[in-house]
Symmetry: C2
Subunit: 433 residues, 2 copies
């Protein structure tokens, strides 16, 4: 390696890290991208893997393959366990150190149970392909277990799917679950009627999609309702147990509980600075660098980056992408002795899909709902998907799912042992004594 | 349920069980198909999932979906733990019993380590989607670990992939592995050259593809050699250890060892009769029924069915398929009081693929090798694949893999912890002291 060349270390192969790397591709700098996974995951479509519409391979792409064309970029499969900001070194899990001239930390976020980590086994969240496969397995097994219980002559009890948290992920999961029950699986069982399944979306706040304008929240709640989802806002979950969710004093039996309520930034944030916010976000300057460390950038879901009007930027793929590109440009400016430019987020809008021909979208002042919002969502996500092959496959999968009311990826692959059908109380809801 | 109607219980949703069920579809009989998995796996293409050419979803299809159109068939996700042949009952894992008038046992086979089950963790076999995902992860991680070791300034040592057993699965795996190393991954790494990887195919017998005519064995060995696979016949593996395979006194360091050497029929066979053969196959009569139990049929890889000339039928998808169809017809004949017909296997030929444009095939007296055999293999497998959707997707995947020298399914998904790079001796081979 040319010793005079500067080295940029990028942590994370999500949207932020990947676009930072691409922006530095074929420039006069050595780039090392470190990720714990060998693949980039297209997170906006994870819920489609969790609900068996797409396969894991459809929404993931090997990072090496994406960056293959840039000879100045190398990819390392490893985990970061610490930093030495003064010595400019990154500590890796297997004991080795990486030195850097510039560091870009784009380690993302994970789910938060607000101090109730004991709920996690009973209410998995959705951040990785592994999470999505676990959820897919549990959802499909719930129907299988009910059918088996019925075949043995017992009452399988109510088949409730409870989604906690009505942000975009919760809304998308709830919509997809009702579609599976009412459409996809409708003809597949002989003893139970999947269409009798209940999907309940529980939100602590006053409305679904709190980050959206109120009229779109209202429309989303209406669209969910007309699909058959029961929406309960202002309902705080007080406990999640096997087969049960408590909302205040009310017990709701649950075949599958999913967690879409909280987000916590990667623990790497706290290793960079003690000044993270409550959710673990790292405060950054206008150029997305760490205070007192202009050579360290923090981007994507891990950063508490602010808009020009001082508002915290949301945890969106589009934000991470733009931050990655901007950071790469500022590093190149440093290399050529030019002044850095502050980051400005170009708002491309908000989009959340709810189900078949149901969505809400906001582009500037334009608010869309229903079919036209759904078409907009479809187009935007096809374009965003990284890699030609994935785009074609996803299109084939979607077309198939849409026209045939089929979901091809309905595989239960073992990792967890197959649970026995859960004993559920005969009444759907009862007050706790 | 109509009590007068007879009930057929089918164990297993592989080729045998599925074709037996389809043959009974919409007949005047109740059918229950029991499988531990919710999906049918197209086993002939499993090695393509193991080597990242196809995704699990491409070669698997939910059994419920396949049989959805037959209202007299129900599917149960459960495992069989025993039989009461006199009472005509099947014992299920969750404690329930299924009674039957006819029983079709098509439980298949698994790998055998010939009494060395302790080798399994270090040399996984390939029978299920889960196996294929484990192998894919290990193969991809071997390259990642070597790259990381090199990036840390150490010598990663030789990168050997050892396949034990040169039947069709072993030959296919070896050919696909060399293709990954020399073609697919060639541009992806900066520190190591994947093309320097060695693929070694070890066979205890005198030739590869022992079940094929000698000229095709010879051609297969030649085609493997020209692709770059090192073929060692007459070599008995004496021990498999972490990072090491022993052949007699010779130690071969191994980054990944795969087992394709032995097959053992499902343990359900021994629950049906004490008279299984050495590999656990159940002897059956000319109509594939169990001696003294004409209402019990055993088909597919579990059965020791014989050809009209007394030769044991091989464990092929085509054999299981034909046996399933024939069994369904005999059950229908019983229902209508007609005499059963003995099973005759219609030999459709033998096909094994070796790599890009490399294969061997035997159709009756016609022996094909190289490109034309490979095209025949491709056509046959596309037609055999069950389900329209899978066929289209597999075609897209294959076309992509072929023209772009890319493999889209190169995902490492965690289940096993990521192993550290294995310490390998500096010399590739050395005599044990």
């Amino acid at each position: 390696m040319n010793e005079a060349r500067k080295r940029v270390v990028i942590i994370g192969g999500g949207f932020g890290g990947l676009y930072a790397a691409k922006g530095l591709g074929n420039h006069d700098v050595d780039v090392v991208l470190v990720d714990r996974k060998n693949h980039h995951t297209f997170q906006p479509l994870l819920y489609q893997v969790a609900t068996a519409a797409l396969s894991p391979g459809d929404i993931a792409s090997p990072i090496r393959g994406i960056l293959r064309g840039y000879k100045n970029i190398e990819v390392l499969l490893d985990a970061v366990v610490g930093f030495d900001l003064n010595e400019r070194r990154v500590h890796l899990r297997d004991g080795a150190d990486l030195s850097y001239d510039f560091l870009v930390v784009a380690a993302g976020a994970t789910h938060s149970y607000f101090g109730h980590d004991q709920w996690e086994p009973f209410a998995p969240g959705l951040k990785s392909l592994e999470d999505a496969t676990v959820i897919r397995r549990r959802v499909l097994l719930a129907f299988e277990n009910a059918e088996r219980t019925a075949a043995e002559g017992h009452d399988p009890g109510p088949l409730n799917f409870i989604v906690v948290g009505a942000g975009p992920t919760g809304v998308e999961l709830a919509g997809a679950l009702i579609e599976i029950a009412r459409g996809v699986l409708a003809q597949d069982f002989r003893r139970i009627d999947p269409a009798q399944a209940h999907v309940i979306l529980i939100e602590g706040g006053p409305r679904v999609l709190a980050a959206y304008p109120e009229d779109l929240s209202r429309s989303a709640a209406e669209q969910l309702g007309s699909l058959g989802v029961e929406v309960r806002t202002g309902a705080m979950v007080t406990s999640v147990e096997p087969g049960l969710v408590r909302v205040g004093e009310i017990e709701i039996p649950s075949a599958v509980t999913l967690w879409a309520a909280g987000v916590a930034a990667s623990p790497l944030g706290k290793m960079l600075t003690p000044n993270t916010d409550r959710a673990g976000h790292v405060p950054v300057g206008p150029d997305l660098s760490l205070p007192n460390h202009p050579e360290v950038f923090v981007i994507g879901d891990l950063a508490a980056a602010k808009d020009s009007d001082g508002k915290l930027l949301p945890g969106l793929a589009a934000v991470a992408q733009q931050e990655g590109k901007a950071t790469a440009k500022n590093i190149v400016r440093d290399l050529y002795g030019q002044p850095r430019k502050p980051f400005h987020y170009l708002d491309k809008g908000l989009l959340a899909t709810i189900g078949r021909q149901a969505a809400v979208a906001k582009f500037g002042r334009i608010h869309l709902t229903g079919f036209i919002a759904w078409v907009a969502w479809l187009c935007v996500h096809l374009v965003l998907l990284i890699g030609f092959r994935n785009r074609v496959l996803v299109l084939v999968n979607w077309a198939w799912a849409y026209f045939a009311y089929q979901r091809g990826a309905r595989l239960i692959t073992d990792v967890e042992p197959i649970p026995q059908a859960q004993a559920a109380p005969a009444e759907e809801m009862k007050k706790a004594g």
